[in-house]
Amino acid sequence: MKIRLNGEEKEIADGLSIAQLLDELQIRSGRVVVELNRDIVCREAHGSTLLKGGDALEIVHFVGGG
């Protein structure tokens, strides 16, 4: 299925949870914040939140800034 990940279209396996996707992308969940369709998904819910086709996911973190 297709989702929008950080503004880009991405093909992922059906029924993937956010935690599984982060794992697949080799992203450490402790350093990022995830927003699904404009709602923040807290870290504790990453495992239980399943993705659906057409979902818009944002994965952000802190970078250098002033």
């Binding site: 992203i27 990022v32 994965i59 802190f62 002033g66």
Partner: protein
């Protein structure tokens, strides 16, 4: 009594707040911040690079237990985007203090004041400790303080310009009416600029480019620490009144002849 900068319910010994952008690498970022003595550091919120997620993370170099991480809303042009960014930042678990900036124009990077006021209202209601970046306008400063912001942060000059305090009289008016800390944010170029802000009575100075863009950022970080410290001490000490004519420093009595 120790001279501390109080922001909401926390106190800081350092009155220098530094950014983490524009450094050569994270090692240089960490070293400059360490030398600056800053206890509060600003960071930006950005998308993770999906194609190269294993890149090192800024927080691997800046321990949130040691530093107060102050997420900014740099790059936000609307109140909604700024609020959204703050909510994401809070979820990262580094506290509820945020630097609010809603940019009005990418050439000047001056803030959009109506949007800043709108975002500040929402964020204060949501329990954020809001430190807004503003133009050096006393009316705006007063409105934001009345909304419940924990400080006001007028610019000295455009972000990254290094021009120093362009309108000291406006900053003085802001200081005179302030009931919250006044932190000069943006436009400082060198240590004397920081010292001047502190001598005027500002409670702190926030800078990034002035340090990161210096030929030797680590040495400039030290200069800024000393500049802020010197300016603060001079302010507390109370400078002499400026006079047109001389006053002898040596006694008049007992002069030879």
């Amino acid at each position: 009594m120790e001279d501390l900068l109080k922001l909401a319910d926390k106190s800081y010994r350092s009155r220098l707040i530094v950014g983490t952008g524009k450094y050569k690498d994270f090692a240089e970022t960490r070293k400059a911040i360490e030398v600056s003595g800053a206890e509060i550091v600003t960071v930006a919120v950005r998308r993770v690079n999906i194609t190269d997620p294993n890149k090192e993370n800024l927080l691997d170099y800046l321990d949130p237990k040691k530093y107060t991480i102050l997420p900014n809303t740099a790059g936000c042009y609307t109140a909604d985007d700024a609020v959204r960014t703050c909510r994401l930042a809070r979820e990262a678990g580094v506290g509820k203090m945020i630097k609010l900036e809603v940019i009005g124009d990418d050439k000047t990077l001056f803030p959009d004041i109506p949007a800043t006021l709108e975002a500040a209202k929402t964020l204060v209601k949501e329990g954020f400790v809001v430190l807004p970046y503003i133009t050096d306008d006393p009316i705006t400063a007063k409105k934001l303080q009345d909304i419940g912001c924990a400080a006001v942060m007028p610019l000295a000059a455009p972000i990254g310009s290094g021009l120093g305090i362009r309108n000291p009289y406006n900053i003085l008016i802001i200081l005179e009416q302030a009931t919250v800390p006044v932190i000069v944010d943006a436009g400082v170029g060198t240590a004397s600029d920081a010292a001047i802000a502190m001598e005027m009575g500002c409670d702190g100075v926030l800078m990034n480019t002035a340090i990161a863009g210096a030929r030797d950022p680590i040495l400039m970080a030290e200069a800024m620490r000393l500049g802020v410290d010197a300016g603060r001490k001079a302010f507390l000490a109370g400078r002499i009144v400026k006079k047109l004519y001389a006053t002898a420093s040596s006694p008049i009595d007992g002069i030879l002849g």
